[in-house]
Structures are given as structure tokens and as C-alpha cells.
């Protein structure tokens, strides 16, 4: 058996606690991540950035150990060769052009100037900035700046990519393009960690999530599996349609539904204990009802209600 076969996971967090004076950032967290795109979810102040800073060796855990590819990132810079990190900090060197910026940072990986320029042009193209790469960063919009940051994190073709709130403050167009970039990287087989405090954002990127709350690990696993846990929790589905009443009849007769309401004209609210079952029969009911459905919403399927439920369960 060779050492390669015992390859350590990309990220290994072992009983880590980190506090800032009286404030607890991370509380006894254990986590191992290797491969795929993982969303790190949690409201503001849940400890997402603290977790990432621990991984990047910016801060030192008070208890427990952090390992990137089996190496302590606080003591040793060698894992950074294999990691790309997009911090939440917005600051860039405003007087540099995008190409300059990315290639200067690329050279810190030991690339020659030519290599760095080639790679930088390539990743800037990958994030969709090839047309503006000779413009100064000071003239860039927020979404463009986020993409420059992603480009700098990708320039050395890392195995692990950590993105701290990459969609924060971006307009919808930029969000879409950044999300597709992240998805594409995931398809390339990289280990990706993306943090967000908005569930829908993460949902569009990945199904594998970690939920943090008050520095603790609240849940880990597939988003839908976690959602499955919510089945006992009464859930609402809002359907906008032409004839809510006939559709309500169909649901009550066939589906796992314990109540219906009509909050507005042309809108049906279904209350269910088994969200996935309700969703699974939803298409057949829609077909059966033979009417035009304009939208289906899950108002309880957001982070806040998920967290609220998980915390209640936990207590």
C-alpha cells in the first residue's frame, strides 16, 4: 500500500473551536470534505468566514486541528499551492489591470512571467472577462471584481477552491455567470467550498451542503436529504393557477396533504407534512387538472425556516 492510497481529505476539521475574546466564532466543529461542490450555509455571524480563515491559516484554532491535504495551514504554506481562495474582502489593487493583477499573483506560485500571463489570460477568459482584462480594476463593477477574484484563485489550477460569499452584492446577471463558473469547476472534479447566507443561491449550484449556526455544525449532507428531515414539519407550497379550487380537490384526494388555503385570487396554498412526496405527485396532479400553472413556490424552503426547524429539532 502506498502513501497515495491513504490520501488525506482536502479539508479536515477536527473538533475545532475558535473564539475572539468573549465571542465564539467556531464551536467544537468537526468536518471532512473531499471532492464535489459543497455549499456552506449559515446566517451572518454563523462562523462561515471564520471557518474559511482557519482553513487558510489566517487565524489559529484555540482548540482542535485544521488540516488541508493533511497539513496544518497555520504552520505551513505548502497547501496553498493546491488551494484557491476568494476572500470576502473587496479590496484589490485598483491601479492594476485585471491581467496584471491576476498574473502578478500567479507569479507567487512560482510561475514565470510568460506562464503567468498565459494562465491569467486563460482564467480571465474562463470567468468571462477576456474583453476587459486590460482595463484598470478601479473601473470594474462589483460582479466583475468578484470574477477577477475568482480568476486569481483559479490561476494555478488548484484542487481545492474556497469561495467566501462570491455572490455577495452582485447583480442577477453576474450571479448567473459566477454560478455557472462554479458549477463548471465542480464538473472538472475539483473540491469546492462556497459560502452563502442565501439558500437559493446555493441550491442552484450544489446539493451538498453544510449548515452552520452560532459556530456549530447544524447539518451536513444533501440539501434534499436535509429537506427530507423537514417532512414532519408542516410545509407550504404556493401554486398560482387558473382554478385553485379544482386543483385543491385533486391534492386532497391524492396527496399527503393535511390542509389547503386560498390566500388570494388564483392562488392555492397546500399544507403538507411530506414535502418530497407532495413534490413527487405534483406533476401528475398538474397534468390531471389540465390547467395552466403560472408558478410554484416553496415559501418555507428558505434558510431561515430550515434553520428555525433544525434548531427546534435539536433542542
Amino acid at each position: 500500500m502506498t502513501i497515495e492510497n491513504q490520501r488525506p481529505p482536502a479539508v479536515l476539521i477536527d473538533q475545532v473551536s475558535k473564539w475572539y475574546g468573549q465571542v465564539i466564532g467556531i464551536n467544537d466543529l468537526s468536518l471532512a470534505i473531499d471532492g464535489g461542490v459543497t455549499g456552506v450555509l449559515g446566517p451572518n455571524g454563523a462562523g462561515k468566514s471564520t471557518l474559511f480563515k482557519l482553513m487558510m491559516g489566517r487565524i489559529r484554532p484555540n482548540q482542535g486541528s485544521v488540516r488541508l491535504f493533511g497539513v496544518d495551514p497555520w504552520a505551513n504554506t505548502s497547501p496553498y499551492r493546491r488551494v484557491g481562495y476568494v476572500s470576502e474582502s473587496e479590496k484589490l489593487y485598483e491601479w492594476m489591470t485585471a491581467l496584471d493583477f491576476v498574473s502578478t499573483l500567479a507569479r507567487l506560485h512560482g510561475m514565470t512571467r510568460e506562464e503567468a500571463n498565459d494562465r491569467s489570460a486563460h482564467v480571465l477568459d474562463f470567468v468571462g472577462l477576456s474583453e476587459v482584462m486590460h482595463k484598470e480594476l478601479g473601473k470594474f463593477s462589483k460582479g466583475m471584481r468578484q470574477r477577477v477574484k475568482i480568476a486569481h484563485a483559479l490561476v494555478h489550477d488548484p484542487e481545492l477552491i474556497i469561495l467566501d460569499e462570491p455572490l455577495h452584492g452582485c447583480d442577477p446577471l453576474a450571479r448567473t455567470s459566477i454560478m455557472s463558473v462554479i458549477r463548471e469547476m465542480g464538473e472538472q472534479g475539483k473540491t469546492i467550498l462556497v459560502s452563502s447566507h442565501i439558500l437559493e443561491e446555493i441550491e442552484r449550484i450544489t446539493e451538498q451542503i453544510v449548515i452552520l449556526h452560532n459556530g456549530r455544525l447544524l447539518a451536513i449532507g444533501n440539501l434534499h436529504a436535509i429537506r427530507g428531515l423537514l417532512d414532519k414539519h408542516p410545509h407550504r407550497i404556493l401554486i398560482n393557477c387558473e382554478d385553485p379550487r379544482s386543483l385543491a380537490g385533486l391534492f386532497v384526494s391524492e396527496g399527503p396533504v393535511f390542509g389547503v388555503r386560498f390566500p388570494r385570487e388564483g392562488q392555492l396554498e397546500i399544507q403538507t407534512n411530506n414535502l418530497s412526496a407532495a413534490h413527487s405527485i405534483l406533476p401528475s396532479i398538474v397534468v390531471k387538472s389540465n390547467q395552466k400553472i403560472t408558478s410554484i413556490e416553496n415559501p418555507d424552503d428558505n434558510l431561515e425556516s430550515l434553520l428555525g426547524y433544525l434548531i427546534k429539532e435539536g433542542s
Binding site: 487558510m56 489566517r58 487565524i59
Partner: protein, 568 residues
């Protein structure tokens, strides 16, 4: 290719190289984008331009010949300068006494107790006498204090004096600087006067008891051409001789240029204007007590003139053109090197450029970008400092060479450029660069130790360094001053000066001995930290090592602080 099949360009060292290159380049570009960089570097250039204009001014002024011993002055206004009067043994505070003027030669006298108390003839008299005059020189006059008798002659040519024929004897005797008329008592047609003071005339003098009379004659006056005062400026230069028997007849043939390659010792100097030899009533002077009158004693050690001890009035008025130009030039080079480069630029450039090298990245939030790359924090500090040094060091060395070139062209000497100066200027540039490294690493560490109050710490350190630097210029032997970076950098300049211009000790000794007052000794003294060898090379190496150790220590302190710091 190495054993693992990687090409040579992929070793750890080349990777480090590339990282260093990237950070250095980034740092330089960041510094270039800051206004404060341009302000401090621009002020440095302006300062140097100002100093150069002062230099041009001082060079022109000092080349005017100076009469160091003041013997070109004509104090009594008789047209003869002091130097010429000294040569002829005349007094320069009496306009009646000048080279070639007639001199009174005393012949004889009648003392208060001599038995024979009469004398006759045509003489110049001094004293008291009853004088039966056949002729009196009414023009024999002088200053009132010299007691010349005023005869007050009328139009007929007879003196009009007080008639004292019926006076008491005591009253007659008591007059002075005057004469009175006693009339023609014996009826021979000649009037008898009582005269007291100085007078000239022919007649018969009878000296009263208890009084005296002296007489003599004045020599013929000879015309001596007054020499122009310029002859007594720079007339007694510094003379050095090849052999020690300098009192030979052909001493002129033995003369050599003093600041020559050959290190002089022993008795030198020649009293060109003769004022030493004629002093002490011709006995000369041996102030330096070496047994030779009117000479200059040169004392050498290890082939370098370290002291010059001269007798008074020897080599006391040297040619400024020949000496002070060189002295002022060296004083300028050393003064600018120490004050402007090491103390001013050395302190202010790091204060503006190095304090925030790492701290500002933390405050701006751009540090996250850099530290997410595989680069150690200590490496980061060193590369940042290297970037700062690339700008400030090349600036300082370029500036020192430009100022050096300008002053080498303007400076004294026959050659177009004083090539011998350039090593000194390079030494100044290198010493200042060492200061930039030391202060840079120190101020950078201060910024890291206390991002908020680091600047105040730096200012306190800066004041200390400024004071210790100034003290080190005045007295490099003061031990307390060696607890400063500037002291060691100034030592580097002292050592470089001695290496590039080995005869600077001799120049300093000449400056003091011959009173050029160029200020060289105020700005330069031989290096102190020679470990007892008095070798400039060892002092230079010693200072270099001390400054390097100080810099490494501060880099290490910065590294320790930075490595432990959590970046939020």
C-alpha cells in the same frame, strides 16, 4: 533535468526567485503609485541641488587669497605694509618710521653727575640746557608727545618766546617741551635760551646740575620703494623638503609639494618672509621645542602625517588657492555625505516608504490576496523590504553619484573630473543604503508591532537617531552614540574617506596647524571602531557587519510578530 525529471528552471530556488521578483515588482509599483514617495524623493533632489549651489558659492569665495597673518596691512599709513616694515626693522605704528627713513644716531651725552657740563656744535639735542644759539632749525618737529620744542618763529625769522630773564631759577628749570628767552647776556650778539625737549641747532649748550643732555645726528633718508600689499598675502606658504638638512643653501631645490604621496615627517617649513627669524630681536622662535628655530615639525605614524606643530610666524600665510580649495571640497563631500545623505535622507525615506510596507497591506485588506499564495510570512517581509530597497537604494546611490559627479567637475584640481572622489561618493551611497536597510527593517517592524502607534515609535527612534548621529559627527568616540544606527553609518563614511583619500589625516592636521578654518576636523575624524588596528578597512567591515546584524534582528522581530498575528 534533476533526478526527479524536472527541468532546472523548476527548482525551489527559481520558484523563490520568481516569487521574490513578483513581490518586489508589486512593491515598487505600489510605491510608485503613492504621492508621498514622489514627495520625499523630490525633496531629496531639491536638497542636493541647494547644497550644490552653496558649494559653488563657497568654492568661489574661498579661493580668494586670505592674508592669514595680517602683514599686508599698513597700520600707520606710511605706505609700507607691515611685512616690509618688519623686514626693515621699522615700527608699523609710527608713520615717521618706515623703511629708508632717517634714523637718529646718538653720539654722546652729559649725565646728571658728569663734571664737564658744556658742549658745542651743530647737533640734534634732547634734554635740558642753556643754549647760546647761532642757528636753530625751526623745522625740526614731530609729534607733541615726542617733546619737540616749538620755537614759534616770527616773520623775520626770530623766535618769539617767553622772556624768562627775571624768572626764578626753579621756574626756568621746570619747563618741558618748551624754550624761553634769556636775552643776550654777554653782548656777543647771540641770544641764550633755556631749552627743554628735543631740538636741532648750532650753539653752545650748558647743562644745569642734576640734569642731562644727549645729542646725536640723523642719518640721510634713503628712498625705499614701498612694496604692494599683495606681496604680503600668501607669502609664507607651507614648505616641505625632501631631505632633513633643509637649512642648506639650496633649500629651494629640496622643496616638494606637501600633500604628496610621500609621507613627510621631521622638521619642515621655511620662514619665507623672515618674520620669525627677525622676531625676538633676531633670535628667532622655537615654539615647538624641537631645537630648530623657525621650523614646522611634521609627525607621522604608520606613514601618515597625524600632527603638525609649527613655530610662530612660520608658514603662517599659505596660498588659499592651493590648500583651502581642497580642504573646503573635502569638507563639503564629507558634510553632505553625513548630514544630508545619512542623517536626513537616511531617516526620512524609510519613515515615508517603509513604515507601511506590510502594515498597509493588512489595513487595506489586500493582504488576503497575497497570503493565499504559497508564500511564507517571513519571505513576504523580506521581499517587501527588497522592493522598498530597490527603489530607495537605487535612488540614493544614483543621487550620490550625480551630486558626486557635479562636485567632482566643479571641485579644485587640474583634472576635468576628480576621479578620486567617486569612490567616496559611492561609499556615501552604500552607507546610506545600509541605513535605509536598517531603518527600513526597523520601521517596518514598528508598523507591525503597533499598526496604530508605530509611527510615533518611529518618530521617537528618529529623534534619538538624529541626536546620536549629530553627536557622532562631533565626537565619534562617545560610547553612548554607538547605540544608534546612524553612528555606524557615519563610521562607514569616515572609513571610506580614509580609504579613498589616505592623506585626509594630513589635510586635517594642516587645517588645524595652519589655521585654514575649513571645518574639515569638525566633520571628519579617523574611524573609531578599528579593533585597535587603526585600519580603515577593518572599521568599514566592522560597521557593515553591525548594520547588517541590526537589520537582520529587526527583520526577525518583524517576522516573529507577523507570523503570530491573526489576520482578520
Amino acid at each position: 533535468m534533476d533526478s526527479k525529471g524536472r527541468s532546472l528552471s523548476e527548482t525551489v530556488w527559481t520558484r523563490m526567485d520568481r516569487k521574490a521578483g513578483a513581490i518586489i515588482e508589486l512593491t515598487m509599483r505600489q510605491l510608485r503609485h503613492r504621492i508621498s514617495t514622489w514627495v520625499v524623493l523630490g525633496v531629496g533632489v531639491l536638497l542636493m541641488a541647494l547644497l550644490l549651489t552653496f558649494y559653488i558659492d563657497s568654492v568661489r569665495e574661498s579661493f580668494e587669497p586670505i592674508d592669514n597673518d595680517g602683514d599686508s596691512e599698513d597700520n600707520d599709513g606710511d605706505g609700507y605694509p607691515l611685512g616690509q616694515e618688519r623686514k626693515y626693522g621699522t615700527w608699523d605704528w609710527d608713520s615717521a618710521e618706515y623703511p629708508g627713513s632717517s634714523i637718529y644716531i646718538p653720539e654722546s651725552d652729559i649725565d646728571w653727575n658728569d663734571a664737564i657740563r658744556t658742549e658745542s656744535g651743530n647737533k640734534s639735542w634732547t634734554g635740558r640746557a642753556f643754549f647760546e644759539a647761532s642757528w636753530i632749525d625751526y623745522d625740526y618737529t614731530g609729534d607733541w608727545y615726542d617733546s619737540y620744542v616749538d620755537w614759534n618763529p616770527n616773520q623775520e625769522g626770530t623766535p618769539e618766546l617767553a622772556d624768562c630773564s627775571d624768572w626764578e631759577y626753579e621756574d626756568i628749570i621746570s619747563i618741558w617741551s618748551d624754550a624761553c628767552d634769556l636775552g643776550d647776556g654777554d653782548g656777543d650778539g647771540l641770544t641764550t635760551y633755556f631749552v627743554a625737549g628735543k631740538w636741532r641747532g648750532e650753539g653752545f649748550a650748558t647743562v644745569p646740575e642734576e640734569y642731562y643732555l644727549e645729542w646725536g645726528y640723523w642719518t640721510e633718508e634713503v628712498y625705499v620703494e614701498p612694496e604692494p600689499p599683495e606681496n604680503y598675502i600668501d607669502e609664507d606658504g607651507i614648505d616641505c623638503f625632501e631631505g632633513l638638512d633643509l637649512r642648506e643653501e639650496d633649500w629651494e631645490g629640496n622643496r616638494v609639494e606637501c600633500p604628496s604621496e610621500q609621507r613627510l615627517s621631521g622638521s619642515h617649513g621655511f620662514d619665507n618672509d623672515g618674520d620669525c627669524l627677525s622676531s625676538n630681536e633676531g633670535a628667532g622662535d622655537d615654539e615647538n621645542r624641537n631645537g630648530i628655530k623657525c621650523d614646522v615639525q611634521w609627525i607621522s605614524s604608520n606613514g601618515v602625517v597625524i600632527m603638525i606643530d609649527r613655530d610662530d610666524l612660520v608658514d603662517e600665510d599659505p596660498d588659499e588657492q592651493e590648500y583651502i580649495g581642497e580642504l573646503i571640497h573635502r569638507t563639503f563631500v564629507i558634510g553632505v555625505g553625513k548630514m544630508a545623505f545619512v542623517i536626513l535622507l537616511g531617516l526620512f525615506i524609510p519613515l515615508f516608504l517603509s513604515l507601511g510596507l506590510v502594515r498597509d497591506e493588512t489595513e487595506n485588506g489586500t493582504l488576503h490576496l497575497l497570503l493565499s499564495k504559497p508564500i511564507h510570512r517571513a519571505e513576504f517581509i523580506i521581499y517587501r523590504l527588497a522592493g522598498y530597497l530597490a527603489i530607495s537604494g537605487s535612488y540614493v546611490i544614483a543621487l550620490s553619484l550625480v551630486v558626486g559627479l557635479a562636485s567632482s567637475i566643479l571641485g579644485p584640481g587640474d583634472q576635468i573630473i576628480r576621479l578620486g572622489d567617486l569612490p567616496v561618493w559611492l561609499g556615501i551611497g552604500v552607507a546610506t543604503t545600509m541605513v535605509l536597510v536598517a531603518y527600513g527593517s526597523m520601521f517596518n517592524a514598528m508598523g507591525l508591532i503597533s499598526p496604530k502607534y508605530g509611527v510615533y515609535l518611529c518618530i521617537v527612534f528618529g529623534i534619538w537617531e538624529f541626536m546620536m548621529g549629530s553627536f557622532s559627527i562631533i565626537n565619534p568616540n562617545w560610547t553612548v552614540a554607538s547605540v544608534s544606527i546612524s553612528h555606524w553609518a557615519l563610521q562607514m563614511i569616515d572609513a571610506t574617506v580614509l580609504l579613498a583619500w589616505p592623506d585626509t589625516i594630513q589635510w586635517a592636521a594642516m587645517d588645524q596647524a595652519f589655521e585654514f578654518e575649513s571645518g574639515l576636523s569638525a566633520f571628519w575624524q579617523p574611524p573609531v571602531h578599528t579593533l585597535g588596528t587603526s585600519s580603515a578597512g577593518i572599521a568599514l567591515l566592522n560597521s557593515f557587519i553591525v548594520l547588517s546584524l541590526v537589520s537582520i534582528t529587526w527583520i526577525f522581530i518583524a517576522k516573529s510578530v507577523f507570523s503570530r498575528r491573526e489576520i482578520l
